[in-house]
Amino acid sequence: MTGYWGGVVWGLGAGVLVGISTILGVWGERKVAGHIQKRYGPNTAPVFGIFQLVYDLLKLLTKEDIHPKQARRGLFNIAPLFMTTPIISSLVIIPFAAGWAPLDTSIGILFFLAVPSISVLGVLFAGWSQRNTYASLGGLRGAAQMISYEVPRSLSVLAVVMLAGTMQPVTLMGEWRIWWLPVTLIAFVVYFIASIAELNRGPFDLAECDSELVGGYFTDYSGIRWAMFMMSEYGGMTAAALFGSVVFLGGTWPLSGVLGVLVLLVKTVLLVIAFMWAKWTFPRMRPDQLMATSWKVLTPMALVQIVIVGVVIAWL
């Protein structure tokens, strides 16, 4: 599916996908948090409380869109787009079914690692444009953290790429064997942790930590723009989980066809729940500790993994 119209169709499709995943993600998050905290979460709304998110979304759409007087309007307005668009576009290379991806390109993995990083700009724009102390601190923290965690995240994916010998996600998923999982376990752990940090989620949610910075880099956003930040967070989480299941867990393996898609979804949902589990269990880290974890723990771990994979390949 290439060409201009294909892109438009896929863009809309991915937008809807991100929207749905946000609704289900927020609902799931509130439910997961509730059950961890000995309560129920939304359950009075119809359909197990999923309608709660329909209410929330409609409400946010029609809420006042505040522009603070001191804010820089242009940047303030486009910052949310810089957050959501890269997430939506990055979904294009995910092989949703065995042997098929919306954009089957030979540099798919590189694409996925590179494009969502553009949202660093969104964080910086949002933090800077509000001219608000909390937001600027949050924006700087978020940008520093997202850029540093790029390194271990990319290195961790590199291990699987070495095993597969390709950067094409569709081929990689086809090549995937179950014995890769124990071999690349360290890489998977690194990827998981780095993805949480990349998404600014707890326990690494320094950029938006409500106990210090109130709302972090989107403190002054309201209404639909605020909802777009939420969309980017949950869409990004879905994208990271999808990519993680494809690269590290074999995607549709062991089935194919429609059942394969189901398998992929199940793996993704499990990963997303794990993301939430981490957020609601652990305390938050401090910025300097976070940086230290990235450079002193995760990056060496990823390098060790690459060495292990190298040895394994040589041994094969």
Binding site: R30, G34, Q37, K38, R39, Y40, G41, P42, N43, T44, A45, P46, G49, F51, Q52, V54, Y55, D56, L57, L58, K59, L60, T62, K63, E64, D65, I66, D210, S211, V214, G215, T219, D220, Y221, S222, G223, W226
Partner: protein, 192 residues
């Protein structure tokens, strides 16, 4: 808010627009009433019950209400606790930072009238309604968390009759699915 307001007023003037307007109102009030995120303006004793109300035993999140720290993304400010003269400007400031539409719940006697600190003191505001438009009052010193839940449900009923076209209120029938535990108004007496 501006676009929605203009839309409402334009619709009202249009011939036949009121049909659209009432459906639009029904949809908006339906969503707004069920999704009341709260700004926990907890200053004193009532803050403890405010915390308790969203935690394990009482769990306001069941009704879609959960506390958020940033005032921009919330709908209802729950003023819980004594408001001193020194604090009042700050409360007003947070209120002004909230995005429209917004509502205010005065939780506890201190916010209703000054309560136990009404007389003989130089430092307490006699009621938060002297500077904020309060929608629902909860009596009690402090009220139980169930009373706050009841206030949220009452506020939902109040929002159901609002219109986007100016400050008008009228009753519109909802054909949309609503949350299940709708307490009948006549049964409300005991819970608070």
């Amino acid at each position: 808010m501006a676009i929605i307001d203009d839309l409402g007023q334009t619709l009202e003037k249009m011939p036949g627009g009121s049909v659209i307007l009432t459906s639009f109102d029904a949809l908006l009030d339906w969503s707004r009433g069920h999704s009341l995120w709260s700004q926990p303006m907890g200053t004193a004793c009532c803050a403890m019950e405010l915390i308790a109300s969203s935690f394990s035993k009482f769990d306001l999140d069941r009704h879609g209400t959960f506390p958020r720290a940033d005032p921009r993304s919330v709908d209802v400010m729950v003023v819980a606790g004594t408001i001193s003269r020194k604090m009042a400007p700050a409360v007003l400031r947070v209120w002004e930072q909230m995005a429209e539409p917004r509502w205010c719940i005065a939780m506890g006697n201190c916010t209703v009238s000054g309560g136990i600190f009404h007389y003989d003191t130089y430092a307490v505001m006699p009621g938060v309604d002297s500077f904020l438009p309060v929608d629902v009052y909860i009596a009690g010193c402090p009220p139980r968390p169930e009373a706050l839940q009841d206030a949220i449900l009452q506020l939902r009923d109040k929002i159901r009759n609002e219109s986007v076209a100016g400050g008008r209120t009228y009753e519109h029938k909802l054909l949309l699915p609503t949350s299940s535990p709708r307490v009948a108004i006549e049964d409300r007496g005991e819970s608070a």
